[in-house]
């Protein structure tokens, strides 16, 4: 009898507590993320984006691989080359950091 009363009293409390425990460490993160999202979304929807009338539909060949390939080796060859150094150095850094036992 007493037990029932207690459980009736405390079940909503338990729920609330668990909700509270879920939110407490996350609440600041949530607020900040929502603030950020709201700011971005408002700005996005109040912006008139420049866009072409109709997305070009090349029925014969849907692929733009060729265009990208040409660009990579003409206009944007410098970033491509820098990327090679990036890959090398991150490879080196990753292997060094992941290897066991520092000094041996």
């Amino acid at each position: 009898m007493l037990n029932d009363e207690v459980s009736i009293l405390f079940t909503p409390m338990k729920v609330l507590t668990s909700v509270y425990n879920f939110f407490r460490p996350r609440i600041i993160g949530m607020i900040v993320a929502f603030l950020f999202l709201a700011v971005i979304l408002v700005s996005v929807f109040f912006t008139s984006w420049p866009s072409v009338e109709q997305i070009p539909q090349n029925v014969a060949d849907q692929s733009n691989i060729e265009g990208i390939g040409v660009l990579i080796f003409t206009d944007f060859v410098v970033p491509f080359e820098i990327l090679s150094i990036v890959l090398l150095s991150s490879l080196m850094g990753a292997i060094y950091m992941a290897k066991g036992d520092g000094n041996q």
Partner: protein, 483 residues
Amino acid sequence: MDLMLLAPELTLAVTGLAVLLIGLFLPVGAKKMLGYLASLGILVALALTVSSLGTEATMFNDTLSIDALSQFFKIVFLVVALLFAIASIKYTEGNSHTEEFFSLGVFATIGMMFVASANDIMVLFIAFELASLATYALAGFEKSNQKSLEAAMKYFMIGSLSAALLLFGISFIYGMTGTTSIPAIAAGAGNLVTNPIGLVAVVLLVAGFGFKIALVPFHMWAPDTYQGSPSVVSSLLAAGSKKMGIVAAFKVFIVALIALQAEWQMVFAILAVLTMTYGNVVALSQTSVKRMLAYSSLAQAGYITMAFVVLTPMALGGGILYALSHGFMKAGAFIATAAVVYMVLSENRDVEDPDHLDNFKGLGKRMPVTALSMTIFVFALAGIPLTAGYMSKFVLFSSTIQAGFVWLAVIAILNSALSLYYYARVVKYMYFIPTDAGKVSEPLPYTIALVIAVIGVLAIGFWSEPFVYWAMEAAKVLIPGGM
């Protein structure tokens, strides 16, 4: 297109690869020569850059541009890298991974140099990432030391967050202008001004670059990372990588997004005041010298940021000159700290805080050259006359007043007066507080690096004319109109 203009970068790339490959075949004892090799490569690159001074060209379909600004910053980066490499010779002694250390350092320098000469946001972003990725591993180089690892982790996490913010911002710029080329963005920025997304993009970009420059509130990784990383790496981060953020911001904001001037001027005004005040006030109560230097470099970043607010050619010249001076001063101060840390650790391996202020007691007697150079660096950072710090502050502050930003100059001058307190404390510990410990021999590589930095600091202080002129030339690239 003259490929010789790319020679410094190519030299460095070859040096980095050569260090890596040769290191594979050397026994641990002989790996010392890798440091010499890397220093030599950087020196050659420096010579090549200096020899091509004054040329102007664009290369590779306008994705790279060589002009006074990029040359100036390339030289800043190379000088810092040189100091870093020389000082690291002693630091890496006896380490079996010397080759990784030096080639990562050299690759990071390449990244910084490409940022300086980028004329396309894509190049700029990827080079920016190159400099970041290479230094992540450097910051965690002592991977069995928890502090170093923690420094690397924080640097990496906040770094990748900033990279994401930066890329997100760039995507908006691209969306509104339909191009990634910096001059073309400047031409088509009209859309950005009239739409709210322009402001969002500006703030996202400020956050991305502010991470590198360490502006409040994007600075929080900086004190931890500078304190935890090996001191020589801190010198590269504080003196080199920070300047990369500044030159990137110069290019993106002043050249590409000049149409949004009103917005980002205000952002930078707020951040400059916050950054210099926060940095100076928090530095007052630090007991770790590296952490103190980290906060002081926040403050210095705040002063440099004033150039964005004032935006006259003279202020920009002052900011650019400050970047050079700060390179010498901060790199020197960190290397001096590195020498002390080395000394402390070689006496006792298990010291908790080798860079604690207490270890600087009586340094004037124990390590006279290091102590004297440290004194010069901190006085230069405080802006005592006849040093580089004073000259750059003078040019920057007087241009600020001249442009009518008296309130900003007052805040900056008050701040720089405040900063003297914690700098003088280091000097007090070094010269006024005696210690029982005896004199120790100072490692030669550290001493050489310190002497180079001292010469740089004093040269800019005494014989400022060429440097000021040179910085003004670089500033003209940003604002071609002149006065």
